[in-house]
Symmetry: C2
Subunit: 197 residues, 2 copies
């Protein structure tokens, strides 16, 4: 769902996107590719990692490390990996965030934690809400964060806060229980937080 939302937005913005999955003929990925007017394609995780200049990790948090290992460390070398995943436990992440674990497992990738604090519809259509709101960036590579910032600005984001290095991913991953509680209370995931300052 998250991968579909981001891939579709990227295609709509004119990018070429390969949707990676465990097999070459994943039904959802293939069906998605057919809707993209030729700019989208489907492949394996390694295929997608080789293809992309920027790799989005949109897998479920508990499976993300396995999926990225399947993609292949060599294929991710030097690339920007935008980690939008959360480990969906009610208590949030442990002392080390998923973003940090990915950066540690793939030291030659440029991991940027981003877009992990809102529903995927809001990720790609931030202006669907009635007021501006905030997206957070965490990562060790300033250049990679700048590229991701500019990319999400093309999605419609106007308030990106760079929290610092990848260790700050634990801050945004730790927000997950509050996000879930607000979702439950509002009865809709169509919300996000704005840092008023």
């Amino acid at each position: 769902m998250v991968g579909n939302a981001i891939a579709s937005k990227l295609v709509a913005l004119g990018h070429e996107v390969m949707m990676g999955s465990r097999t070459t003929n994943n039904a959802k990925a293939t069906a998605w590719a057919q809707t993209t007017g030729g700019r989208g394609s489907a492949g394996t995780f390694p295929d997608a990692a080789v293809f992309g200049e920027i790799v989005f990790n949109c897998t479920e948090g508990a499976s993300s490390l396995a999926a990225l290992r399947a993609a292949g460390a060599a294929n991710l070398e030097g690339k920007i990996v935008v980690d939008v995943a959360n480990v969906l436990t009610p208590d949030g992440p442990g002392p080390e965030s998923l973003g940090e674990q990915i950066q540690k497992a793939f030291p030659n990738a440029k991991v940027v934690k981003a877009l992990n604090t809102m529903n995927c519809e809001i990720m790609v259509n931030p202006r669907s809400l009635p007021d501006a709101h905030t997206v957070f960036l965490s990562g060790n590579d300033a250049g990679a964060k700048q590229i991701v910032r500019e990319l999400v600005e093309t999605f419609g984001w106007t308030d990106a806060i760079d929290l610092g290095d990848i260790a700050t991913a634990r801050a945004t991953e730790g927000y997950l229980p509050l996000w879930l509680s607000v979702w439950k209370r509002l009865g809709t995931p169509a919300f996000n937080i704005k840092v008023v300052r």
Copy 2:
């Protein structure tokens, strides 16, 4: 600092407030009382618990249970206990929040977790920020939450979201690492989040 901010605001709004501490002659509490034109006083934790209709826990989170035990379970019986404390570890609370622990330790108190997601200056002067923003309430007693909601509205709050029972305190306590990261990034605690929906 937090107790001083809240007590001063309450006194300014016309309430009578006793500042509790471990001893009867705490220098800061006594000095504070002298600034209140007679509406503020100082006493021990049990004195304050007996005195108040509403008890604010403004102690450091790691010491809160001890402070409330010193105040005395019998003195808190049937009273609203507004827990504004956080356990200041970088990784946020464990699987059980402080709010839940307090409610479990004092089952006959009406614990309301509130105001624990912003700096104490923002707690009592929410309109010091340039836009409206959000305060969260968690607690098992709907009547107690309503009273706390109305009280914080007299502080200037306009967007209080009732997240549900006291178990939802783990959501707001889990926000602490993000709050600390944003503070560090902005260089000031003069911010809060607004739930844009």
